[in-house]
């Protein structure tokens, strides 16, 4: 079941003469033949990746492991989930070949693919899958039944397949402190937080990856990654959203996702007084998201006053993201700000400081005093990647990451109205002020072939192959 996404030769069984002519032409123009050969998938080679994330554990079920795209992408290299989501957020078979649920969406049954082995050689069974899911989801009732796994939830879970596509629900086997997955690569070297070397599995159930191995350098900032790319020491690097425009303009090959990472201001506490509501609203109204996106972040995202991006929810435009200083000042009229609101940010993120300074200036225009700090604060600038292309799951996971109460959906309905109502409720609580949805991007060497960055920023490295160095040059 070899997947070949690039061009392949189609041979017409009817046009033998045509074939003969074609062979003749090929014989006459050897250069054309060479060019075509360069576009063919090629096995072998080591893909060198640099990334900013510096995880100290490879366990995808660990806390915070999905908060960075890098970690999520690492997870996909070594572990599989029962279900995957396509670019439209629709569940697709993976370790589970099929699934079905009862009408109440409380009980689900997944059929496990046969003939799969973990990286340690152990066969994948429904018992192993059930054990793996139970370990991560203690509130679920997970049973194995023959070659199927049954999941029972306390309440309706219409989006359970999408939940099972989350990295934390990766199927893995733990033995003697070691974890083993069913993914396309296996670990050959692991220097926590610094370097990871993976080797392709010849027996991967979806077919052997084209590349032999992947060397991942971790903890590299964007600047160092760019230097590594320029010097040819890395084949794939991450690109910061605010560098996307510039990197693109420097004739680099850049692939980016749809806006998938939420940048927002999150209040650490609920409203404490009646003044907090108008103040928070004034702050939201004073922020010039357009300038933030266009200038500070170099159009690396999209301004948004919603938690979910427009392309996922379809209704984000309903929440106004424009500046309304007059209304902001009107909100603050008669209110006396006792002390500046402290605005915290991650000092390790160089772009965050500029964003915060701009927000401080915007707030000042409205008459609101903010005090930037890299320590504990009343308000924090956060960047949270959306972990699922399923809107409901994405919103639920987002609230977890933001420390907000989980959204309340209406029964087992999966409708957009419910989603909107839940998100609107969250926004009305004024705990969070969405600013932008940022894209994730990667810069690649020309030798990296068949790179497809998913809409949610996920890599698909098993499909990547490395071209012959210099083959693309004229």
């Amino acid at each position: 079941m070899r997947r070949i996404a690039s061009q392949s030769f189609a041979v017409s069984s009817l046009l033998g003469a045509t074939l003969a002519i074609a062979m003749f032409v090929m014989a006459l123009f050897p250069m054309t033949t060479t060019a075509n050969a360069a576009t063919r998938p090629r096995y072998g080679g080591t893909l060198r990746v640099a990334m900013q994330t510096a995880p100290t554990s490879l366990d995808p079920t660990g806390p915070g492991s999905s908060e960075w795209f890098g970690s999520r992408n690492l997870s996909h290299l070594m572990f599989d989930t029962l279900i995957t989501l396509d670019n439209n957020g629709k569940p697709q078979p993976s370790l589970a070949t099929s699934w079905q649920s009862e009408p109440s969406h409380q009980r689900w049954q997944f059929s496990i693919r046969r003939g799969i082995t973990f990286q340690d050689g152990t066969a994948l069974t429904s018992d192993a899958v059930a054990a793996s899911l139970r370990a991560v989801n203690p509130t679920w009732k997970v049973l194995s039944s023959g070659e199927a796994v049954i999941v029972e939830r306390d309440s309706a879970a219409p989006n359970l397949p999408a939940e099972l596509a989350l990295p934390r629900n990766s199927v893995l086997r733990r033995e003697s402190g070691k974890i083993s997955g069913t993914g396309p690569f296996t670990v050959t070297q692991w220097d926590p937080g610094k370097k990871l070397v993976l080797a392709a599995r010849d027996d991967y159930w979806a077919g052997r990856p084209f590349i032999d191995s992947i060397e991942i350098e971790m903890g590299k900032n964007f600047h160092d990654q760019m230097i590594a790319l320029d010097l040819g020491r890395a084949d794939v690097i991450e690109v910061a959203p605010d560098q996307l425009h510039r990197t693109n303009g420097e004739n680099n090959r850049v692939e980016h996702s749809d806006p998938i990472e939420l940048m927002a201001l999150v209040f650490t506490r609920d409203r404490q007084s009646t003044d907090d509501g108008p103040i928070r609203e004034a702050l939201a109204l004073s922020i010039d998201r357009e300038s933030l996106n266009k200038v500070v972040l170099q159009s690396g995202g999209e301004p948004s006053a919603a938690l979910l991006p427009e392309w996922i929810s379809g209704y984000a435009f309903v929440f106004p993201a424009g500046v309304d200083l007059a209304r902001a000042r009107q909100n603050l009229a008669g209110l006396k700000q006792s002390a500046p609101v402290t605005l915290g940010y991650d000092s390790a993120d160089p772009g965050a400081r500029v964003v915060v300074e701009r927000i401080v200036l915007n707030a000042h225009d409205a008459g609101l005093s903010l005090q930037p700090t890299s320590g504990a604060a009343d308000l924090r600038l956060v960047r949270i990647p959306l972990v699922s292309l399923n809107a409901h799951v994405a919103l639920t996971e987002l609230t977890k990451s933001l420390g907000l109460p989980p959204p309340k959906f209406n029964g087992n309905s999966n409708s957009e109205d419910d989603l909107y109502a839940a998100e609107n409720t969250l926004l009305q609580s004024q705990r969070v002020i969405p600013l932008l949805h940022l894209r994730t991007a990667s810069a690649l060497q020309a030798s990296v072939k068949n790179w497809h960055e998913a809409r949610d920023g996920n890599w698909s490295l098993p499909d990547v192959w490395l071209g012959t160095p210099g083959a693309d040059k004229p």
């Binding site: 300038s291 200038v295 500070v296 159009s299 964003v355 915060v356 300074e357």
Partner: protein, 597 residues
């Protein structure tokens, strides 16, 4: 106080005052020199600051000019003339150029003051710069405050204009004036430079004060100086006490730093530590104390030695004088020098020598006179009985020859006369013999009042002898007279002699007074009469043996009195005036334990 001690004290005081005076003078001169050097160093440092300021200013101007003439600035100016620039294209432009030109601050601003790109605050694009633009772009560098108004940074800035089209582009760049700038100044040891950022009308804020090493601890101590400079806008100098230790004191010279619009943006403080001066002063004091102490010890030793040299002859003279006073007329001092003290010693020796000779001559003269007097008295005393003896013997011889019949009768009468006169001769001889053999006193406890009363009773009858004018005897005896150690018989004889002497002095009658009194150590007995009195010459010779002013008597009575009183460790004196009677006073020690009995 002894002369030696006085001399020593004068020497020590002189040395101390000398050292103290020298120390004060040296200290004052040191302070003056230090302050002069301090002022010179401050002036030099201020000049250095201004040179460095100008040099950096020129450097900033050059760098800003480089930026203004760059292609980036030209492109930006061109865009500016085509409408509102795309801020996103220039977000990092200023930062990048500032890094290239090593500028801490760089901003591109349009003619409305709108920031197009800012290196120090990239987020301020589209906002107005608070710099007051004037028609004329300043040629030189100037001071400017950068950053938030509540916590500004002082910058040495320059501005240049890029003229492409109608809308000029301003390039404002600068370098930070902070601790690194202060650290670049070459400061002499003990000096430092501090910088205070002035923030509008905010009173002194310690966090705005820095020196080359960072924030200044206890910065509040210079608040007064800062506020004074803020008020007066002129250079001011003050002494700042950083702690209770004077060595931590620092003289701060404050120089106001004004901006382009003559607003006070900062204050440069040139600090000069007083530690070297205080330590030098301590050293001077210590050295002075040491020198003073050593000087005083040396002075004591030297003055002791000198005083000894000076006073030893004087003390020897004093000792010799005391010996002379005690009767050793042969006392001599050693002449050790030829100076005035040597002359004094020699004169003293000559004096005692002369006195001794004179005394010997006087003694010899007195001895001759005494012998003469003795001879005269003996002759007188012996002549009186001898003359009747001669007449009696001649009568006997004449009677045997001329009247043998009456010889027997005359022989009998003459024999009686001869025997009487021979007896008289014996008496005279025995008195002289008795005087020559005065017995040693047998000491015992004696109540003088009783002795005096016994004597008065003994002579009571003679005082009222019929045919003689009466003499009244008055006893004025001290109450509770303590007994003394004396020989009662000799005392009785002394008082008897004095009473007899008084009676002889009052042939016309009068009053005899016997008076006793005492103090802690002595008992006193006075015998007074109201007789004719004595002349001073008589008083002088009164106690000379065999001297008498009377027509009868041996002249031994008062000599015996003096002899007995002397044997008791006492003394006898007389005071008298002619016509006013005479008083003999005897002073006896109460305790004669030291006398051999």
């Amino acid at each position: 106080m002894k002369f030696r001690r006085k001399l020593l004290a004068v020497f020590a005081l002189t040395v101390f005052l000398s050292v103290a005076t020298v120390a004060l003078i040296v200290s004052a001169m040191t302070r003056r020199s230090f302050e002069r050097a301090n002022a010179e160093s401050t002036t030099a440092l201020v000049a250095q600051f201004r040179r460095e300021f100008n040099r950096r200013g020129e450097e900033v101007v050059r760098r800003v000019e480089t930026v203004a003439s760059s292609e980036s600035a030209t492109r930006m100016a061109l865009k500016l003339n085509h409408g509102t620039p795309d801020y996103s294209a220039y977000l990092d432009e200023a930062k990048s150029l500032a890094e290239n030109q090593q500028l801490d601050f760089l901003e591109f601003v349009d003619n409305q003051g709108t920031i197009i790109s800012s290196a120090q605050s990239p987020a301020t694009f589209g906002y107005k710069d608070n710099f007051a633009f004037t028609a004329n772009v300043p040629k030189d560098a100037f001071l400017k405050q950068e950053g938030p108004s509540e916590d500004p940074t002082l910058a040495l800035s320059a501005i240049r204009q890029v003229n492409v089209g109608d809308r000029p582009l301003y390039v404002i760049g600068g370098r930070r004036l902070d601790k690194d700038f202060l650290a670049s100044l070459e400061l002499p040891t003990g000096m430092r430079a501090l910088l205070y950022r002035n923030v509008g009308d905010i009173p002194f804020a310690p966090q705005f004060l820095t020196d080359a090493s960072g924030p200044v601890p206890d910065a509040d101590r210079i608040a007064q100086l800062i506020e004074q400079v803020e008020r007066q806008r002129q250079e001011t100098t003050a002494l700042v006490h950083w702690s209770s230790n004077p060595a931590d004191d620092e003289t701060l010279h404050a120089i106001p730093l004004n901006g382009q619009a003559n607003q006070l943006l900062g204050i440069l403080l040139v600090g000069s530590s007083r530690r070297p001066y205080v330590e030098l002063r301590q050293h001077i004091r210590s050295a002075s104390l040491l020198a003073g102490g050593a000087g005083m010890i040396l002075a004591i030793l030297l003055s002791g030695w000198a005083a000894a040299r000076v006073t030893r002859p004087v003390e020897e003279l004093a000792r010799a004088a005391r010996e002379v006073a005690d009767g050793n007329w042969n006392a001599q001092v050693t002449v050790q020098s030829t100076d005035e003290l040597g002359e004094l010693a020699a004169s003293f020796n000559r004096m005692t020598h002369e006195l001794l000779e004179q005394k010997e001559r006087l003694v010899q003269t007195e001895r001759v006179a005494a012998w003469r007097e003795l001879a005269r008295r003996l002759a007188h005393e012996l002549k009186n009985p001898l003359f009747p003896l001669q007449l009696t013997v001649e009568n006997l011889l004449r009677a045997r020859q001329q009247s043998p019949e009456q010889f027997e009768e005359i022989f009998q009468e003459s024999s009686s006369t001869l025997l009487a006169e021979i007896s008289n001769l014996k008496t005279i001889i025995s008195r002289f013999s008795e005087f020559s053999r005065m017995p040693q006193p047998h000491l015992q406890s004696v109540n003088l009042n009783e002795v005096v009363q016994n004597v008065a009773r003994l002579f009571q009858a003679q005082l009222h002898t019929p045919g003689h004018p009466p003499i009244e005897c008055k006893l004025e005896l001290a109450e509770s007279m303590q007994p003394i150690t004396a020989d009662p018989e000799l005392m009785h004889r002394v008082f008897s002699n004095l009473v007899l002497n008084a009676m002889d002095a009052m042939p016309e009658g009068g009053v005899l007074t016997l008076h006793t009194h005492q103090n802690d150590e002595h008992a006193f007995i006075e015998v007074s009469d109201t007789g004719t009195g004595l002349t001073p010459e008589e008083c002088e010779r009164l106690f000379t043996p065999y001297y008498t002013s009377k027509t009868h008597g041996t002249g031994l009575g008062l000599a015996i009195v003096q002899s007995v009183v002397s044997d008791h460790g006492g003394r006898v004196s007389v005071r008298s005036e002619p016509g006013h009677g005479t008083t003999f006073e005897i002073e006896l020690p109460k305790n004669n334990r030291n006398l051999s009995s």
